[in-house]
């Protein structure tokens, strides 16, 4: 099939960008979206032009590196799918496709479709961990964790940190991303001791990094390639409320 692409091209962070139009010819339905772009790039290189820069690595839908808004939807229209796993059979001959980078103040564009997501790392650094030392921890079976709790934590932990939730959010809020970690650790006995501190620190970092506030649009959940539920945002809110209550230690 043949497609018309409108791709965001931007030389560098300060440069002005714009949509450029390219033709993708003889696209095989078995190709992934990124493989289709690879070919467009090969053509560009051969005609002496700068190929389209885009982030990608594992191409298996797990590393969270790929990040493109396709026709207004982060990772494209197929549900629970990253761009690297989006296959061309999802498109039709003659389609016009708009390809844009994640857009948010906290994700400055570095080149074309590549954005800087270090703001997501900064949120994790503010408290997305348990402060255990290497070594000197108890046996893994010391605290039994009921299966539903372990499953709940795993549901939250499946986040691949791609940032689609932010790209989709009308407020560019990183609440789903933050809540997934808060909820995972708050559910587990290992994470409970620091739960109060964590939820405060991480939500503070979220604002400091320039993300917006959550106003319950739930676009994040709809865009998430891993189907992370907004129930974790409710859990974060609950944890936050708990952290406001005076503790029995009188802190």
């Amino acid at each position: 099939m043949n497609l018309t692409l409108h791709v965001w091209r931007q030389k560098g962070p300060q440069a002005k960008g714009k949509l450029e139009t390219y033709q993708a010819k003889n696209v095989s339905p078995d190709q992934s979206f990124l493989e289709m772009l690879d070919e467009v790039n090969d053509d560009l290189i051969k005609s002496g032009k700068d190929p389209i820069a885009f982030d990608h690595d594992c191409r298996e839908g797990i590393c969270g590196m790929c990040s493109q808004v396709i026709n207004g939807r982060p990772h494209g229209h197929e549900e629970r799918t990253t761009v690297c796993q989006l296959h061309m059979r999802q498109f039709n001959d003659g389609d016009e496709i708009f390809v844009e980078p994640w857009r948010a103040k906290a994700f400055p564009i570095q080149k074309d479709l590549i954005v800087d997501r270090s703001s997501l790392d900064a949120i994790m650094q503010s408290g997305g961990y348990t402060s255990c030392h290497t070594g000197g921890v108890p046996d893994g079976n010391t605290f039994p964790i009921p299966k539903p709790v372990a499953d709940y934590a795993m549901d939250a932990a499946e986040c691949i940190g791609c940032g689609a939730c932010i790209a989709a959010c009308p407020n560019s809020s990183a609440m789903l991303y933050t809540s997934a970690k808060v909820a995972q650790l708050a559910a587990l006995p290992q994470g409970k001791p620091e739960a109060r501190k964590r939820v405060k620190a991480m939500t503070e970092a979220l604002l400091a990094e320039g993300f917006g506030n959550c106003t319950n649009h739930y676009e994040c959940e709809a865009a998430c390639p891993k189907g992370i539920s907004v129930k974790f945002i409710a859990k974060l809110n609950r944890e936050y409320l708990k952290s406001m209550m005076p503790s029995s230690l009188g802190e």
């Binding site: 690595d57 191409r59 402060s131 070594g135 709790v149 372990a150 795993m154």
Partner: protein
Amino acid sequence: MILDGKAPTGPIETSWDRHRFDMKLVNPANKRKYKILVVGTGLAGGAAAASLGELGYNVEAFCYQDSPRRAHSIAAQGGINAAKNYPSDGDSVYRLFYDTVKGGDFRAREADVWRLAQVSNNIIDQCVAQGVPFARDYAGYLDNRSFGGAQVSRTFYARGQTGQQLLLGAYSALSRQIKNKTVKMFARREMLDLVVVDGVAKGIACRNLITGEIESYWGDAVILATGGFVNVFYLSTNAMGCSATAIWRASKKGAYMANPCYTQIHPTCIPQHGDKQSKLTLMSESLRNDGRVWVPKKAEDCDKHPNDIPAEDRDYYLERKYPSFGNLAPRDIASRAAKEQCDDGRGVGDTKRGVYLDFKTSIERVGQPMIAQRYGNLFEMYEKITDENGYERPMRIYPAPHYSMGGLWVDYHCMSNIPGLFVLGEANFSVHGANRLGASALMQGLADGYFVIPYTIAQYMASVKPGEITDEHPEFKKSVEDVKGEINKLLSIKGKKTVGELHRELGSVMWEDVGMARSEASLKHALQRIPEIREEFWKNVNVTGESGELNQQLENAWRLADFLEFAEIMTTDALHREESCGGHFRTEHQTDDGEAMRDDENFCYVGAWEFKGAGVKPELHKEPLKFENVKLAVRSYK
């Protein structure tokens, strides 16, 4: 030269404990004065950087992705082994040790494997403490599953995303140290040179992938944990950015490359669909627990719909050839068998490079819902990629390059032959011998990072003066200039072929000639083709863009340039190793019924290669292997 692995002697059971006691310590106040560079922040590097930072060293860590959370460890699905023996099914540190030595076809250092088995239990505890949501049973205790090549259930898992969860655990520990300012993280940096001063590793040069700047960093020690090199085959289960670059550049500075011919081809991958494909996708080998592998008996049936081929016309070749292990034969054996069937003209699918993995019998036995519960996500993934429903018609699978057992040579301390250069995880050659068992790479990465290097590096640190050599030293400037020179050279060629095209060419040579089965003729053919492609590369590659900007073509170009040199050493190693063992199968060395034939008399050693210049034959150094605890025996899965 005969290499010394410096492994402790005496009873193996106490070897690590005794050795830990014998090693020097660095006192806490002094640790602050040392700087350690950690290149690579996957399981091995991430765990190492976090642990060393916590101990008090100044750590600077590097990765080429935009975040340490994206290292390719993230893609591991199946699980991680540990000798916890929670199910009380007869497991022990000794058994894990034994299985790993035997599984590696007796080509690993015993003491290293013992240590790995011993600390495997600490890993699970560590990960649980970090909040890794391992699967649990209804009583709330950790669940185990069984994995290829073992008769006990010792594999811990987190759904089909074990690697992801372990990496996120290490990433969280790393994040904590970054917050505490003991670790400084440099993402989107690719190491392009090792700085060696007076024979000692003292720093690195990297390219800032965003600005294009060439930067140098100094350290009192350098740790490489940069993962595997099977992208030398072009198509593999590795991520697009995985490369040999870091270890190869170190090798060019004098580090020995050990056993590069030991590569693992994983049997259950989704077959290639055409020549436009960029990577291959692995499906967990747990599928073989319920799937039966077959091909049509008659070549003319290969284009028929598989459901129209009656049972008597199907060849369940694994069950036929290996009645006792059947569909669960180890990876190397299952892969080779699939290749044989396809070579015999009985492969299926468009490309005829595929065999069926059929769940019909299991669905009839336990019902589709049960199969869906066990492997639902894999069936989904399969359908997304192939547009076929694995419940209704058999899946098609084919082997794909997956893991590199070989890597930089290290001693028991994980230190290479260059003092001050340490190598961890898949990047080193250490514990898996000639074949790696399922679920043990994650174990090795974390063992190296959390529980080995924090001890062994102290021994080295105690012998160097902190900050003695910094980036003021002229070698750093030279290194930066060298890298700049190479980059300018790549950009100035402006030929006709893209990097991708040339990589595909190299890949097809490597796959055909140095893949699952190798012969003297094929290896010699490869040794002739590789330099040709390399020459064409340096004459005719077209790298667009400039050096002072984000330039992905340029990144791909230097990675390929390194593969083009590395491939030669890998092939040379394969040609020199006149035996079949583990992932290395030489067609000249097989039994009458096609099984691998090891030659312990002549090849019971680690082959470590010293780089002597591109196109010049490398020099072989040997580290003889002694087996005092596990008796050398023929590996049989019949």
